[in-house]
Symmetry: C2
Subunit: 404 residues, 2 copies
Amino acid sequence: MKTLNLTRHKRPGRLSLLTLALLLSWPAAAQELAQNAPVVSPELADGNAVTFRIQAPNATEVKLTGNWMPYAPDGNGGFAQQMTALAKGENNVWSVTVASMEPELYAYAFMVDGVRTLDPANKNIVRDGRFSTASVLYVPGDASDLYWAKTGPKGSVQAVWYDSPTLGLTRRMFVYTPPGYEKTQASYPVLYLLHGGGGDEEAWPSLGTAANILDNLINAGKAKPMLVVMTNGNPDQAAAFTVSPPLEANAGVGGMANMMFEKSLVQDVIPYIETNYRVATGKENRALTGLSMGGLQTMNTTFENPGLFDYIGVMSMGFADLSRFGINIDNSKREAQIKALKAAAPKVYWIACGKDDFLIESVVTMRAKLDELDFPYVYRESPGGHTWTNWRIYLSEFAPMLFR
Amino acid sequence: MKTLNLTRHKRPGRLSLLTLALLLSWPAAAQELAQNAPVVSPELADGNAVTFRIQAPNATEVKLTGNWMPYAPDGNGGFAQQMTALAKGENNVWSVTVASMEPELYAYAFMVDGVRTLDPANKNIVRDGRFSTASVLYVPGDASDLYWAKTGPKGSVQAVWYDSPTLGLTRRMFVYTPPGYEKTQASYPVLYLLHGGGGDEEAWPSLGTAANILDNLINAGKAKPMLVVMTNGNPDQAAAFTVSPPLEANAGVGGMANMMFEKSLVQDVIPYIETNYRVATGKENRALTGLSMGGLQTMNTTFENPGLFDYIGVMSMGFADLSRFGINIDNSKREAQIKALKAAAPKVYWIACGKDDFLIESVVTMRAKLDELDFPYVYRESPGGHTWTNWRIYLSEFAPMLFR
């Protein structure tokens, strides 16, 4: 049986080497090895069977939860996800094998007697904004191939800070420049790529694997070389809390419905990029897309500035009524906005949503209004819900449409 | 009592906003909130008392382990670290308050019935190479002030891929450019900054908070503006396993003692930087430092290339005998190498080690040989051991000595 240990780059040639490296690491690691040395997790075998393991001597129940499992409202205002039970074996190691996993980049965790626990044997971890952390599993194959760094020319990703007079902050964003950017005198078009609610500027570079997706599409000739700008969409944050201290609340700039991020995108971000990078200007060289909250921000920005972007993608968001969450979106302007945007005739207006997305009704509402006003758009409905799996797929489908 | 919730940028103004943002996140988050909504952890109060909490209904024992706690060999070939017990309170929430924590950036985890568990309420997590993950706690104050992104001009950090003919790989590294780099025509000196065994190119940018440290030192006038190049020191890796698939082993280039990384640093990395960035050349504009394995690589590189660097820092490593780990370092050449390096007269040769570092005897051996040969160096002995706390402090002390 061919096995590939995804949790380590390479099995150490000698246990003694592992021991040394451990000594050179920090104390907690030594602690852990003593307890978990023999556990390999996750382990991928032929046929993409994946075995998950965790050593838990005193547990009475261990379950696996992963983003490939279906979930649904639980009737109590929350969501309940199906989980898989692990069985206890030798050395108090609990395990379960999931057969035939589709190639994909997965996020998972264990529930050990009800406590959510990342896989102690897997050091590939990821954070989803301020709401979730998870262990990461790559199952290689065609569908996940875009998410790996493969051989071939590579772009760069730069964390830069820019002044936002609109928000009164110096803010952090990530800028992807394509392979060859440093070696040519060409000017490139720009895709502005927005994250969702609760996320921050680290979402697309990490969970979204944006650089790998773009490198692979560009190297395959499927997408034009372009810059990709990944902002922080929370108008009251300078940067992710991993690098920046909590700010005092900025009175008047918080919240999803106040349009402040949208203003800063137009007034601060685009001018910074067009001044500091070798990019082509004009609407034919600008694209904007985002997911969920970022989809709302994409709509708001492009409706308010109809001549600014020729390529617009709205992912997993429509004309939503979010008033029950205390977010009052002014949808009364939509009809006039649609007419104005129609007059500006963007080259691509693309809407994507998962058929199980809890926001899909808002997309139905949006499409009905667009249809009523004879506004041209392309609609892509995918399987699945409101997930990063879908958003990576959407990026890989939207990027090839741009700047043609 | 003033409290600061370190786990979130800002408490949501309404629970409904939190609920919405959760819906916009991925399934696992919803799962988690249902279980852990009321838990705030860690929570910082006046006098830097920090309360750690975790909801664990069925646990019989919950402990806290953190990198501020002392540890020592356990007599069985491993290390045992002191841990602090948590007490069970209302709603099955276990908690413990640690009084008067010194300002610092800490890494910690819970042990729930013996299972190492990151803090489910804290989304600030970090990975230490291939060996450990932990939850992150910042305790603000003078000593940790350097590790935050503060107001003031900011440098950028770029993930770039470069060709390494020496290793037969295209490899990833991080390049910090200082505030003002884009706006001047000046050429800057370069610090090459190496991680330790088990780590990779993501160590210094994340755990090491290198960009924040440099920004803050430069803005305070304590360090000269410089580039900082953070490589991957494992000659058999193209990049961290977070972005790149496992490679087939590169026969002949693996391992710590084969000098292949050192060769690639000189033959591939330095030429790439000096060709692609606006940097000053010559040994007076080059500095090299590293910790542990990176300290060994610093010694190897500078001993083999005595005219290449004027500023050399060896952290937490000396003339170690690692043969019991199967690593055979050729120390027989050291005397001739020291004489050659002495003739090249680097401006700064700096050695730093924690007094409790398990490698401190190798530093004693090294210093004895340097003293015997009348080789000038500065020795800095700090409290503590082989830890990132020390390595951040060392960077903050070494950078100000450079390029004067």
